[in-house]
Symmetry: C2
Subunit: 212 residues, 2 copies
């Protein structure tokens, strides 16, 4: 397997966590987003979405981090990162999607770039935009976590799931951009549990070959 990714891309980080939890090795192909390498014709020929991560496996190219994680779950079922019953699976996916749909795309770099370029938003306004959507999104996730008896040491029970693999990278982004994480004690506690595991640590941006 080849993982096209970038150390600081939080969507890439999700897939690195899942691969690490499943004990999978892969060739690390760095696509430097700061240098626009995801929008080159050569990369877009591989992945028309022009985004990272993308996973190449047996000559097939897969896009979208959640689709890649579900693929790894189906092709490498152990350890499982989704529970076995459908209601619990829906809960884990809903938490992952609350990150992947409600926070990351809207608060992220592409939206902020447009705000600056087209709407002439200041740097402060762009940063505040990012913090706003992260705070809104985390508020909903915090309520999902504190309101459910299924929350355990991790987002769902006492072993890591896809929900944790999506939450941890978003918290990493949030801390870098100055979001007040004291508002979210359940999210913080779970991230601290994840940080104790070598499987999560290995996937951290700072430990990737293209980290600067």
């Amino acid at each position: 397997m080849k993982l096209y990714n970038y150390f600081r891309s939080s969507a890439s980080y999700r897939v690195r966590i899942v691969a690490s939890l499943k004990g999978l090795s892969y060739e690390y192909v760095s696509i430097n987003l700061m240098r626009g390498e995801s929008r080159t014709p050569a990369y877009e020929a591989l992945n028309p979405q022009g985004r990272v991560p993308a996973l190449e496996d047996n000559g097939r190219m897969l896009a979208q981090s959640l689709a890649i994680c579900e693929y790894l779950e189906e092709t490498h079922p152990n350890p499982p990162l989704l529970p076995s019953d459908p209601v619990s699976r829906a809960r884990v996916r809903a938490i992952a999607l609350a990150v992947a749909c409600e926070i990351h795309p809207i608060g992220g770099g592409r939206a902020q770039a447009y705000l600056g370029r087209v709407l002439k938003a200041s740097e402060d306004q762009r940063a505040e935009w990012g913090r706003h959507w992260t705070t809104e999104g985390f508020r909903a996730i915090e309520a999902m976590l504190t309101g459910s008896p299924e929350t355990g040491r991790f987002c769902h029970g006492d072993t890591p799931t896809l929900a944790d693999a999506f939450l941890v990278p978003q918290v990493y982004n949030a801390e870098r951009s100055g979001v007040d994480m004291t508002l979210f004690p359940a999210i913080r506690r779970i991230c601290q549990e994840c940080a104790k595991l070598e499987t999560f640590d290995r996937a951290r941006p700072e430990r990737q070959p293209d980290a600067v």
Copy 2:
């Protein structure tokens, strides 16, 4: 089952299509987004995300449209809306996620409301923002569709999948907001195929009990 939804919510529309394709009936609970009914304490007690759709089944409340669709796929497997092999499943999910992550949250109403309220963007600027992200997202999906031999009558092969259930509602939004759909002949052709089916027609916003 009870589906908390709103006729014009495109995320609700996705779940209606999936339920219709699977021949499932449900109680339609209207949450009027124009009157802010998704952000009331009563609704947030049911669904902490304060969003539609949400599905209540056997007393359990499920959030996030893709999580709900995967749940319906797992609990009502026929007809299948995901292919059987993992690579094809990943492709279908990637198209659905290209709608659910790259277009809908960023171009949608909440982001536009913030642009107006905080950044004082004009109505024209907000509409152009929406069209920009839809056009960008559709460009990637069009490339995924035209670049693959697996595209058939529908997004993946000759029977509908989750990809079609996500694409059709986004095209409905795009047409209402004036996106130039002539740029995307493959997307348009597939939506025309879907429109021929009574299963898709039944899920249309105009046919819902709260349509105005």
